[in-house]
């Protein structure tokens, strides 16, 4: 068996009788970029929520680095190095870019229950936070409240915040959704740059992003795995083409 950082077997999630995800097997190879694609409503985000334990699967098992994480709480999953981003850019709006990243870095302190101490205790993280913000091109916005950043910059900040935890597996939920073309190029370059020594699983609609970045692609449709392989094999797969044409009709 290849060196898989994450293995999900027979994953399923039902909502009041409706099966959003069924029988999904997923193996993510270490140090690869793996993309999860599929038409709207295929269950991609549900899969993400299951893997990060924001949702409890109705059936199935999730193994991360050889350990069963099926019954863990989401915060514990994150502590083991499986860190997600969100579809809607998830930043702490009233906190500066620096504070956003610092909150993530401060996790390494352990408890953070010291309400009697000055927040100057966090200034040890300033250098690292500046580095991370530099890496994602936000050096000029260190003190800007996150809510005031442009959409593309919010996504970049979110990636910097995720990177602050030095995750082993990063789950990016539609990292380029709703972005202008120049922002998309920036994020793609950023993902290329941060992939070294990391595994990335991403949900993405933009197929040019998917083809350019991913080593392996899993196609979901109606909650099931439709196909899996590299871009060349998946993009010529009969079932995949049908599913996508259908969704394009629906979108139009």
């Amino acid at each position: 068996m290849a060196d898989n950082i994450l293995e999900a077997r027979g994953l399923a999630k039902g909502f009041r009788g409706f099966m959003a995800v069924q029988d999904v097997d997923l193996s993510i190879e270490r140090d690869s970029i793996h993309a999860l694609i599929g038409p709207n409503g295929a269950g991609k985000t549900t899969c993400f929520n299951l893997l990060t334990k924001f949702l409890q699967p109705s059936a199935g098992q999730i193994m991360f680095e050889g350990r069963d994480i099926t019954d863990l709480k989401p915060a514990d999953v994150a502590r083991r190095g499986l860190v997600r981003s969100f579809q809607i850019s998830a930043v702490f709006g009233h906190m500066s870019a620096l504070e956003n990243v610092r909150v993530a870095l401060a996790r390494s302190r352990g408890g953070n229950f010291d309400f009697w101490r000055s927040e100057r205790a966090l200034s040890v993280f300033n250098d690292r936070a500046h580095e991370l913000l530099y890496d994602v091109g936000l050096s000029d916005s260190v003190e800007v409240p996150a809510a005031e950043l442009s959409y593309g910059r919010k996504r970049a900040l979110e990636i910097a915040t995720t990177l602050a935890l030095d995750p082993k597996l990063m789950l990016l939920d539609e990292p380029t959704a709703g972005m202008t073309e120049s922002d998309v190029a920036r994020i793609v370059a950023l993902i290329r740059q941060i992939r070294k020594g990391r595994t990335i699983l991403m949900v993405e609609h933009n197929l040019s992003v998917v083809s350019g970045l991913s080593d392996r692609i899993t196609v979901l449709a109606r909650g099931r795995v439709l196909a899996e392989g590299d871009y060349a094999s998946v993009s010529t797969n009969e079932a995949v083409i049908t599913a996508y044409l259908g969704s394009e009709h629906a979108d139009a």
Partner: protein, 312 residues
């Protein structure tokens, strides 16, 4: 700046301390003391509402129990004043540990409903005349006792300086909590709870600690208030008081440093100076509440801060 005050906040703090230092010579000391007690109570509620995003409708349980315990300890057990106050605060904190543990399991309106229900349990306990709370009569003629067993607090002015000192200490404490590493995490939880979880924070534990801190502040405030007015009654532990503290936070300015004091001053002043309208006071309060929600959503301190483009 010390304690993480911005310049505007530091100036505001000095002005506030100066006004409160002069106030007992100008205004009715009992009134100003009650304002400070309720401000301390509201600062705790503001930690929950403003800084964590948790609406509790049961804060009176802590305020009321703080008053009962302090009153009982000083009157019946002849404890010195500071012991009564500290035990009042600790009792409230202990109740906060249990109530918080239950309430943080739910969010938004469900959280609020659980706090409301739990506070009703405390009220039910207080109604029973067990010889501790005095039932319908409450605890009457509470002696103010002696501070550290020796300094008499019988004189209003002597008590005033104690209330003043506790209020200032509470104010600085709350400010420190907000500007601590813990406060940063709590702020992050308010801003985006899911994101905080995805960073590995066990958000329930942080909410729990904030809940207990707010309870403890409520208990100390309730104890002090019982010394000021020399009675501890069902009013202090009832729903109306829980609503009152929410009103104070909203009118004063939710999530602001000075809002709770401003809100407490306005609401307590209404009760003092509009007392002749009797039942109409609640109607007037209701109108102010509606006006606040509709027109001044940031409350007095919040609106002033945004006019001056400052953080207060």
């Amino acid at each position: 700046m010390m304690f993480g005050f911005t310049r505007a906040q530091a100036i505001g703090f000095v002005v506030m301390a100066a006004i409160l230092a002069v106030a007992p010579f100008v205004a009715y000391p009992i009134f100003v003391m009650q304002v400070m007690c309720f401000a301390l109570f509201a600062m705790g509620a503001n930690l929950l509402m403003g800084y964590t995003g948790l609406l509790s409708l049961g804060q009176a349980a802590f305020f009321g129990m703080g008053g009962y315990v302090a009153g009982y300890m000083i009157q019946t057990m002849h404890a010195s004043t500071e012991v009564g106050l500290i035990l009042g605060g600790l009792t409230a904190a202990a109740i906060g540990v249990v109530f918080g543990w239950l309430a943080i399991r739910r969010q938004t309106i469900y959280f609020a409903m659980i706090t409301l229900a739990l506070a009703q349990l405390v009220y039910f306990f207080a109604v029973q005349d067990t010889g501790f709370t005095g039932g319908e009569n409450g605890i009457q003629n509470i002696p103010r006792g002696n501070l550290f067993g020796s300094f008499s607090l019988h004189n209003d002015l002597q008590l005033y300086w104690l209330v003043f000192a506790v209020f200032i200490a509470g104010f600085l404490f709350v400010h420190r909590v907000i500007h601590s590493p813990f406060g940063q995490v709590v702020k992050a939880i308010r801003e985006n709870e899911s994101r905080a979880i995805s960073l590995g924070y066990k958000v329930e534990q942080y909410k729990w600690v904030i809940f207990v801190l707010a309870a403890a502040l409520g208990g100390i405030a309730g104890g002090l208030n019982a010394l000021v007015v020399r009675i501890a009654t069902l009013t202090d532990v009832g729903n109306a008081t829980s609503g009152l503290v929410v009103l104070m936070v909203l009118v004063g300015g939710i999530g602001t440093v000075f809002g709770p004091l401003v809100g407490a001053a306005i609401v307590v002043a209404m009760q003092y100076y509009l007392a002749s309208f009797s039942d109409w006071v609640t109607v007037i309060q209701g109108v102010i509440f509606i006006a606040c929600v509709l027109a001044f959503r940031r409350g007095v301190a919040g609106e002033v801060a945004s006019w001056l483009k400052l953080s207060l």
